[in-house]
Amino acid sequence: MKIVSSFDKDREYLTEKFRNPSLLPEDSGIPNEDILPRLQELAMQDLDQSMFLAKARLFKFFAENMRIDVNEHDWFPALCCFMHAKRPMSEGIAPRVEAYLKREMPDLLERFTQGFETGVERLWIDYDHSAPDWDSIFSLGFSGLLKRIRHYHRLHRDNGTLNEESEDFFRGMEIVYETILATIDRTIQYGRTHAPEQPRVQEICASLTRLRNGTAENFYDAMMQIYLYFIFCEQVDHIQVRSIHVDELLEPYFQRDIAAGILSEDDVRELLKYFLMQWVSINHAMGNPLYFGGTNPDGSCKISRISYLIMEEYAKLNVPTPKMQIKLDDNTPSNFVDLCLDAIRHGRNSIVFINEQAIRRNMLELGYSPDEARDFDVTGCYEYAVKNGGENVTQSIHCNLLKMVELALNDGVDPATGKVCGIRTGTAETLASFSDFHHAFIKQLKYRLEEICRCADRFEANLQRIYPTLVHSGTIEHSLQVAQDAYSTGSLYNTTMLLCVGFATTVDALMAVKEFVYDRKVVTLSELRDICRTDWKGHEKLRLQVLKSPNKFGNNVKEVDFFAGRLAGFLGNAINLRPNARGGFYIASSHPAYQFIELGTRTGATPDGRHAGEEMSKNISPTIGMDRNGVTALIQSAISIDSARLPGNFTLDVMLHPSSVQGSDGLQAMHALLDVYRKHNGNALQFNIFDEKMLRDAQKHPEKYAELQVRVCGWNVRFNDLPTSEQNAYIERAGKIVE
């Protein structure tokens, strides 16, 4: 295979590919802007038809009419080139989904908005966390997957195990996979007729032909297979493919091509750049994940030569996405960890470490088998699932923990809206001891968790009727065997993650009540309630005293860490293994996604000194600036909690000043921090290397810092893309890093 180095010349095209529809040739389909209204029109026809067939019908129209391209600036065809946030299939079908919900569950739609208004919870239907069966995709190819779907369809028909719904499920999948094959045919045809003289275009067409009829035969095909599956699944199912074990998938093809002299390492590096740039161009706000490493059955590590090449090329590209997840265990080569740490300290913050030992322990405790626990898929930001589509994990529900403190202070009433959204636990005047107050908080929390789960159970029981996943399900054999959608009830494990938002800020608020109301008696609980209601107006001195108190999570203060452990314990007991509506169970998570900001804006001032509307802490990390004893104390606080209580996610964000990670000492220090956190079963750790001065300068002169990245919460963004208010939050955070 002849690879001519041309990446620098093509980078501009690659960046624009998915962002700029005017790059697509006019003769290849109808304009992007005309697709959406046509889809929406189609979506509202035949409302009696099942969602399976409606989606399949929409995709067929979409695929037959979208503009496509195969050109010499890329090694991958231009398919489904729409801005990520404007995916036409998702937007197109939205009115139909809404119509369904209005018809079948009218109260639920109201609940979605009401809980969010008062800030107690955030509920949505999550289709963002699928992990397909890559083994099936690679061993069968698209045509083989279609054959298997047809086989099971026939089998169920012959056995009399089909009902109207499962018949539509199979028929929908068949239409979708037939359409995928037809789209590949159309792309090949386009490339052959429009650029017959272009060697690269012909290579692309040859690879597409192999994948159309069979499976990947070489390294380039393997990358193409990942790309095509991602692109189609992303469009049809709305699902971002949230799990790609990139080094393991590519490694055998890499080895073979290098040994056979088909590709050199330089060729591979060149192709990898084009591969990685596809996700750069798609530019999903929360990043698209690729994961590395893992443990073989013999205990050895899966990190291989290709892992190094991908990471090295990624570091050179200096891009915020794809986000890279590194599985870490005793067997992970130190020099690979150092390679990642070095990239991080040079601004590639989009790399997170996933602790295999901790996740193994969590999974075994939750009842998974030792093999499942050994070789899990990393999904989403830093979550995990049984490998190869063995599990779907929805992340539909968020509970605002800090709001429960507010409700305990206000006898179940949200002070901002006046709505009763908790239960009556007694007015502040009646809560005579900290034990009374803590009890009131726990009662509010318990009530909310029950409410949220009841609500989630209602819509999750109908997931496949609301939004089936036809591409994803086609890869999961278990789903075909049981004739159920894989993102609903058709996976072996159908898990629901409950995201507990604002963990550390909640602990801080509880501790402030204990210290200032009950221990030191600086203020009464009713006074504190009134002060919070007026957002600390006229009480700035008290607020500063509260902020100055060392009793904040993240400082290795024993009493604080004890209460943090107690809260984690309560959440774990209340949530983990609770049966969900899909034959699976719930698990607790400290991951807030974006809700530490969104629900923060809907939460009044709180006893920890926080102003109304300010963001809360994220993951298992401290409230901004409250970890004042340095990073080792922060880690000690985090590991004082049993991470298995929050098995869904237990991620620590570690912020360091660039000066502390310089040189070989700095690299060793990062490595040592990682080691300690890992040994104590922290699930995941991500570093952010911040310099306040640099961030201030970047705000003033964005042109000088085009590539500067910051980590939000499991994903990266370019600093320049953030609104000023969020930039200021990062600057404030950086200013508080203990050097």
Binding site: K541, G630, Q662, S664, D665, A669, H671, A672, L673, K679
Partner: protein, 301 residues
């Protein structure tokens, strides 16, 4: 063993450039040298001192209400601080809500320090970390330092001492059994210039370094590169030649001058002695490390 206490001005966890691995550094107060570029001016005096960062003052008035000597007061609603009245009792620093006031210098016993130093024990274990004593000049409080080091060694914690070398050899002998590594400053090879700029002769420093090298202890030489003072090729070459003449090899860490500590002088009410020169550029630093390398001396980054 006698229960010892010492005057310290800071304790820094996650110190990563004060010896190998992750360390906790204890800063001992008091120093006989007067390096104009000193970036720890709060460590020079042996007595406690109050630092006041004016820009952080939020006018909360807590200091005014707790100060027994009326060193803090309001004038036209603006907080004023009269350093002459201050006895550095530290009450105002404790009360300050804006973190504008800070007391440098507190007496700590070895018993009180030990649990704090052991908190990060697990972090020390990776990559040979431990505890470093720095300053100021550690050897000015040699009794306290040696007891602290001995207690740390008894806990099997790696110990390092960061020293200017300006102390009687006897002081070294007291800490030698409990010190596994020395971070040793080397500022200038010429005695006259050393005396003129730093205020003390370098003879004792260099003699001690020779004797220390003979003990076989691990030594990292720390050279603050001050443009116009010790960055010329001939000075660097003289330093390299001296280091090569030592009985055992040493590594060198080059510390480029910066003036980030200038604000500390103002906050402490001290005369700002920091040179008005820009930090050395990367080319100059490379030239210096190349010179050491050419003489067979390893430079750590």
């Amino acid at each position: 063993m006698k229960k010892m206490s010492g005057m310290i001005f800071d304790l820094k966890r996650f110190a990563v450039h004060d010896g190998p691995g992750i360390r906790t550094t204890v800063f001992l107060k008091g120093c006989p040298l007067r390096c104009p570029w000193c970036h720890n001016p709060e460590g020079v005096s042996a007595s406690p001192e109050l630092s006041y960062l004016e820009h952080r003052c939020i006018g909360c008035g807590e200091c005014v209400s707790v100060c027994p000597n009326h060193a803090h007061f309001f004038e036209n609603q603006i907080h004023k601080f009269d350093r002459a009245r201050c006895t550095a009792c530290g009450k105002c620093a404790e009360a300050c809500l804006g973190r504008a006031l800070r007391l440098y210098g507190r007496v700590e016993s070895v018993d009180a320090l030990m649990p704090k130093l052991l908190e990060d024990r697990e972090f020390y274990e990776s990559f040979g970390g431990g505890v470093t004593l720095s300053g100021g000049e550690v050897l000015l409080q040699v009794g306290f330092a040696s007891e602290l080091l001995a207690r740390l060694r008894a806990e099997n914690i790696h110990t390092a001492v960061d020293t200017s070398g300006y102390a009687p050899w006897k002081a070294f002998t007291q800490i030698l059994p409990y010190t596994e590594m020395f971070l040793y400053d080397f500022k200038h090879p010429d005695d006259m210039l050393h005396q003129k700029v730093i205020g003390v002769s370098n003879r004792r420093i260099l003699d001690n370094l020779k004797r220390l090298s003979e003990t076989g202890k691990r030594i990292e030489i720390r050279i603050p590169v001050i443009p116009g003072f010790n960055d010329t090729p001939d000075v660097v070459l003289k330093m390299a030649k001296f280091l090569v003449s030592l009985k055992n090899p040493v590594s060198v860490r080059i510390l480029p001058y910066h003036d980030l500590a200038r604000g500390k002088y103002h906050a402490l009410g001290k005369h700002d002695t920091m040179p008005l020169v820009p930090p050395p550029d990367s080319q100059a630093l490379k030239r210096i490390s190349d010179c050491f390398l050419a003489n067979g001396i390893h430079c750590v980054d």
